[in-house]
Homo-oligomer: 302 residues x 2
């Protein structure tokens, strides 16, 4: 019988869980629970345990469970430190609690971006090496580093916050190229634009509209993504120089713009890096998309 | 009898070696060989072996030898990749060669900045934690990260090149605050300065002169170091966010200016970092000074 793991992706809106087949990444018994309901109950961790209990009853052969959480956790991966979206669980030693309730089962905790990054190694399409930098572009700019097919924890346990590196204009990177900031940038550049463009001028540009315009070769849309790629590129150079890793995977919702930000990233690489780093350097789009969180959580069980 | 290690610090000018007492860091049997002479002989590694042979004959109880080199090495710490100052030894598998010549002895290879960083843990004054970032300010800006009292190698084996992170004016950090650039900056700021200052106006400002002026409270000198601290601070923030380490040791010749660059670094920390990182954050001057290379090399034997 195939090895199966329980993967759990705890988010600010939903807690998604499902049984993941280790060899294929096929997901079965998928459930999405409402995070808000569990919070209102005042018993978030008990609700989590109840949902796990149902899963394990239905899948008694599963002995390992991986959990991804959106926030800071302890270096020993036993406890939560700061989960901004669910602050009432801060400080809870969730792994010992679950192990105590489910004797004989193993539980693994990880930050959700770290888990999603690791998921690319075990479940992603194509060749993913054992060392890579993973950056997610969305509302914020998150990230992780995988070294020796293991999450890089850094010193305190919560390494890799690329979105909070200093960037242009006295702002951190994600305050320059996060989703809201990208759309603000687009609105500003649209206002100053005198050439042709399909982008609307009434301040309602959407990310989908931007990507669609770029697909059609719209010059303004391409210039906007060039700026994003330039700023992201600077951050990537710093990460490459600090971590000595030259495979980059880019995921998250805004990675739909991957091919339009790539030329500017490549320009930065050409400008800043020496041959040692450029040899074999590879920048790819992450492949797991919507299932990244759940598959990432399951990948903690390997 | 006390445990003793052979420490070897290979530099572009000298190869320094000596017997280091593990408990105290006392150095005996110190020799400094001329790197140029060994290079001219055309047998650099053989000369190194001969010098080691003499040391081990005189100190037969020594069974471990640590070697620091100024350049890139393989991730398995067996071979040299790119030693800019001594290019003829690039690609040599120096550790297997030495082990073959000296049966029963152990040899450890590390980049010199990494070794110097680790030396602070074993031989530095005061309390050094098991995780820290180490930055050297000198002709260039070098660095290392120690995690779990071990050199952080990153993905490819040569992590931590803080001097090559993008900085202001389209330049990497060390092209803004390396020794030459610092003195150019000082000359430029002196030319534009209309207030009082003890700094000379004829383009011959020295680093010693700068530090001495700052010691006397010279406003221009302090402004120059403020700029250095601001740029270094930006780089440190990125490292802290990527590595989740909040103890910083600053070494190298220009660290004589430590107390004058510190206020600007602290300002950057206050501006960019969240409480998670600021809690327990500590920035200190490294303590090993001139012996850092040799003691660092010996510390590889622990």
């Amino acid at each position: 019988m195939a090895t199966e793991y329980l993967g759990i992706d705890i988010g600010g809106t939903n807690v998604k869980m499902g049984i993941v087949e280790a060899e294929t990444g096929n997901i079965s018994n998928f459930y999405s629970h409402d995070t808000g309901d569990w919070r209102k109950s005042g018993h978030f961790v008990k609700s989590l345990g109840d949902a796990i209990s149902v899963q394990l009853k239905q899948n008694p052969e599963v002995s390992k469970c991986g959990i991804g959480v959106p926030g800071l956790i302890t270096r020993d991966r036993q406890s939560l430190i700061e989960i901004t979206a669910i602050p009432e669980i801060d400080g809870i030693s969730v792994i010992p609690e679950l192990k105590d309730r489910f004797k004989g089962k193993d539980f693994f905790l990880e930050n959700d971006a770290n888990a999603a990054a690791l998921g690319e190694y075990y479940f992603g399409e194509g060749d993913v090496p054992e060392d890579y930098i993973f950056v997610t572009l969305g509302t914020g700019v998150g990230g992780a580093a995988i070294i020796d097919k293991t999450v890089f924890k850094g010193g305190g346990g919560n390494a890799m916050e690329p979105g909070h590196m200093p960037s242009k204009n006295g702002r951190v990177l994600e305050r320059n190229i996060g989703k809201v900031e990208l759309l603000n940038l687009a609105t500003d550049m649209r206002a100053a634009w005198t050439g042709e463009t399909v982008l609307v001028a009434d301040g309602t540009i959407s990310t989908m509209g931007l990507v669609s315009a770029a697909t059609e070769g719209d010059k303004l849309a391409l210039e906007i993504f060039e700026e994003v790629g330039t700023l992201l590129g600077d951050g990537l150079i710093s990460m490459i120089r600090i971590l000595d890793i030259n495979t980059i995977l880019i995921g998250g919702g805004l990675s739909a713009s991957f091919e339009y930000i790539l030329p500017a990233i490549n320009k930065q690489i050409e400008f800043w890096l020496s041959p040692y780093y450029k040899k074999g350097l590879s920048i790819k789009r992450a492949t797991l998309a919507n299932d990244a969180g759940l598959l990432g959580a399951a990948s903690l069980c390997f």
